[in-house]
Symmetry: C2
Subunit: 156 residues, 2 copies
């Protein structure tokens, strides 16, 4: 969760919903309930979600699809617009390189949001997705790189 | 939608939710809204859903997962218990043969529910899943086959 304050992006909150082992329906309900609570608490204006392309086994892909479906359901049930961005778009927007490593994404999320410590990898991905949307999803051009040393689109 | 009246199964309603081409979030919302309406109208006691095993391309698998996730969300949001059955279990319970063809499933669904015409293939699959649950999901043993001619688990 981030806030756009003029041209500045402000960190609000971040986290992961973890579902215990168990039956699928109750795990999906946990995702719904948790996200509903977050939405109720922070009243976001919109939601950005990573558009996944999966190259794992069909069972995991199906499971991921169901979890992602539940997350989108939580948003649309609260009448929130949902924007989707590919990992490539997100990395391009945040790091300036569509093939950046996870650590680079974490590092840039920390810098852009002025965090004192690095968020977890999953939380950083979510924050990066939000940053991507906040900057119009249009890549490095719209992100102020003042104070960052960049070389060929990479953070140095 | 079927009703269990003692040992007898009564047809209530069936159909398909079709989502037009468009953005994924609005398509998932259509599934949610449509199922919510059906649940509000008929007040089912529980929901049975086919447990899919997919052997299609990852993109379709992900899409199916998201649609299935939305359907399960509609159920759990209405506090309905969701039971999952594999196609094998369903066909075994309805036709008496886990590898029955689609037409055999449609035929048996018609007979079991005393329908005068065959439901569409998708609707028949859903009704078969409901029948499977109503009979305890335990296969042919619990289904009365009185009046049906069966041979080696097949309808003849």
């Amino acid at each position: 969760m981030i806030e756009k304050d003029g041209g500045k992006l402000v960190y609000v909150s971040s986290g992961c919903v973890k579902t215990a082992e168990g039956e699928l329906p109750s795990r999906l309900k946990l995702i719904l309930d948790n996200l509903h609570e977050v939405i109720k608490q922070y009243h976001p204006d919109l939601v950005a979600i990573e558009q996944v392309f999966v190259n794992i086994n069909p069972k995991s892909t199906l499971l991921l699809g169901q979890a992602r479906g539940a997350a989108i359901c939580a948003a649309v049930l609260n009448n929130l617009q949902v924007s989707e961005y590919t990992a490539l778009q997100i990395k391009q927007a945040v790091v300036g390189n569509g093939h950046a490593k996870k650590e680079q994404v974490q590092e840039m999320v920390m810098r852009i949001l002025n965090l004192t410590s690095s968020p977890s990898s999953d939380a950083a991905d979510a924050l990066a997705c939000a940053i991507c949307h906040a900057h119009g999803g249009l890549g490095l051009g719209k992100i102020s790189t003042a104070g960052y040393r960049m070389k060929r689109g990479r953070l140095v």
